[in-house]
Amino acid sequence: MSTTTETPRETELPPEQPPPPAAKPGKGGPVRRFFQGWGVRLSVLAIVVLWIIPTVGLLISSFRSRSFIESEGWWTAFARPFAEGQWTLQNYQIALTQQGFDNAFLNSLAVTIPSTVIPITVAAFAAYAFTWMRFKGRNLIFMGVVALIVIPLHMALIPVLRLYTQGAELWGITLFPQTQLVGTFPAIWLAHSGFGLPLAVYLLRNYVGSLPASVIESAKVDGASDFQVFTRLVVPLSVPALAAFATLQFLWVWNDYLIALVLLGGTPDVRVLTVALAGLQGQFGQMRHVLPAAAFISIMLPMVVFFSLQRYFVRGLTAGAVKG
């Protein structure tokens, strides 16, 4: 809101000012006091409680022994918290050692970290070039890259899967070798990187473009190469934007199920946490006492990342509200 909208209002005020002082305590008073007092506190409390009930249920269930989970609801733990044999760590132990969630956790890390670092590195170099280098078609290419934000990744799923299994040929020339990439880490890194790039380039280009030109120019005059300017100047100055995108992409990749299912698959040695969890959920009955613990293992790290980097995450969300 700029000042233009405020000025007319203020000029409107004087003629109307006399009546309000009398009306204010009578009319706006009680409602306003209610809003600033218990009414507000209780409504916020109600919504917050409603919002954390599911997670609390998960946390409680994950520590309850099998017989309790199967015979009664998790909320009964509040009624008799000290019932014998109620609390146990066994669910976590089973999930980690027998159900392969230890491997799945490592696999999730192996998928997520490169899938975050690669697009950021590639996008940061591109953002630098789009801002501080001169070449033919610069603006056109940038617009083209940003336009790709509209493509939902579902459009890419079938072709990428086929590319990985059959390769690609055009008029007899091999464009993409026929490799068995499905079920390997690089296959999913590159796919996540490709899908995340348009937003990354857009966010970083906006940020890098707002850095003071004089700093970059004077570094160049001093004899620094583009690579040095990039690594020693632009990257350190862009940390907030890099962190914002990094948290966004990290959570996105860690929580992704679809791409991991299609490109990595469900074999125990490569499957990530979401795939393992969905598989466990699919085994009706047998493993239901392990499910809450398994789910908690899978949401632990994102919660830590989320709470420690919330500031950046919010900034990324605000800036990236356009993501497709």
């Binding site: 809101m1 490592l106 170099f125 579902h154 380039v201 030109a213 004077s218 789910a295």
Partner: protein
């Protein structure tokens, strides 16, 4: 997307303007060295070969999971930076003119390559095979599209997706707005309250599906293990299998999405509300408006752009919703949605033609919303 700021001519103390105009000639790095450039190219090739070799090792090794993961991390993280570095070193051996011309493409080349392989080429390919049969052999014209608008499961999925688009964004925005406004008035605990509502944003859809099982669980007799049935039976009713109770089971699934997306709406709207100028509110108060009037006549119109951006963003997320439905009901009991159908048709049933046609349908549905979103977003940026 403003045009990049022109490289302003710098008037620094150590760079006297005038005769010293071309700055791109630092002492020591003159002409081009064919031999060294070839060496640089060799370096690029060597790095790529090493990466492929490490990659092959990863695939075939029977070392434990931990070493494999550590090597994979090193390959992914160091590999990408090393690649840029080696390419830059190679370019450094070119002539001055060559450097200026080639270096930008080194910087944007990997981005363009990734985008080409993972977005541009697949989009064209998907559109093409949506006009082909299940195995992408023969052209079948519009058959796949005719199918996706007549098949009963598909028609249900389109109907359900419409319902999702109506319900989820409106509830998420309403709850988000409520929390943002109310928490803003708390004297303390605002950030705690907001963090707790925001928390589900960190939970995966699959995790949320497991979490909500503890709410929707159903037992035909005995103690209920799902909270909803616990409350429902305590009120004297018979237990209900919420997830197979057509058509209301769709609402049960939508609730999961609302639970996740409300935090997003709240955070963005909260920032917008705090941006409403104080004198605007004060003026309304002096005019005798009560808090409800201030909220609906002053605050909401002021942040309308943000509300639209939030609603459209959530709409796009909803149009792509897959995991919740796939994990909780598998698309059964009349809960099909469009993306879930796409995965079912191409991944489970191996029909690439129909799968691609559904993807194209999604693409076409998302584009107009995206355009509205980007326009609004840019308009908002322009105001800031």
């Amino acid at each position: 997307m403003s045009t990049p700021p022109p490289p302003a001519p710098t008037l620094d103390e150590d760079g006297p303007p005038g005769p010293d105009r071309p700055p791109e000639r630092p002492p020591g790095s003159s002409g081009w060295h064919p031999g060294r450039f070839a060496l640089g190219l060799l370096g690029v090739a060597a790095l790529l070969a090493t990466m492929v070799w490490v990659f092959d090792w990863l695939r075939t090794t029977d070392a434990g999971r931990l070493p494999v993961v550590v090597v994979a991390l090193a390959l992914g993280v160091l590999g990408i930076f090393g690649l840029f570095w080696v390419m830059d070193v190679a370019v450094n051996q070119l002539s001055e003119q060559g450097k200026l011309r080639v270096r930008p493409w080194i910087f944007i080349g990997p981005a363009l390559l990734l985008l080409g392989v993972y977005l541009v080429y697949p989009t064209i390919y998907t559109i093409l095979i949506s006009f082909q049969d299940a195995r992408s052999v023969d052209w079948v014209g519009l058959d796949n599209f005719r199918f996706i608008f007549t098949d009963s499961g598909m028609v249900r999925s389109i109907r359900n997706t419409f319902a999702w688009v109506l319900v989820v964004p409106s509830f998420a925005v309403a709850f988000g707005l409520a929390v943002a406004v109310l928490a803003d008035r708390l004297t303390r605990g605002e950030s705690l309250a907001k963090s707790l509502v925001f928390l589900p944003m960190a939970v995966s859809f699959v995790g949320a599906a497991v979490i909500f099982n503890l709410i929707y669980d159903y037992r035909s007799f005995g103690n209920q293990t799902g909270l909803l049935n616990g409350i429902w039976t305590a009120l004297g009713n018979d237990p209900v299998a919420w997830l197979s109770f057509e058509p209301w089971n769709n609402l049960a699934l939508m609730a999961v999405m609302v639970w996740i997306q409300t935090g997003f709406a709240m955070v963005i709207l909260s920032a917008a509300i705090k941006g409403v100028p104080d004198d605007l509110l004060e003026a309304a108060r002096i005019d005798g408006a009560n808090e409800f009037q201030i909220f609906f006549r002053v605050v909401v119109p002021t942040i309308m752009t943000t509300i639209v951006v939030v609603a459209t963003t959530i709409t796009i997320n909803v149009l792509k919703i897959f995991d919740i439905v796939y994990v909780m009901t598998g698309g059964g009991a009349g809960t099909e949605v469009i993306p879930e159908r796409m995965v079912t048709w191409f991944f489970q049933r191996g029909n690439f033609g129909v799968g691609a046609a559904i993807a194209v349908l999604m693409f076409v549905a998302i584009i107009p919303i995206m355009i509205v979103n980007v326009r609004r977003f840019r308009a908002e940026e322009a105001i800031r």
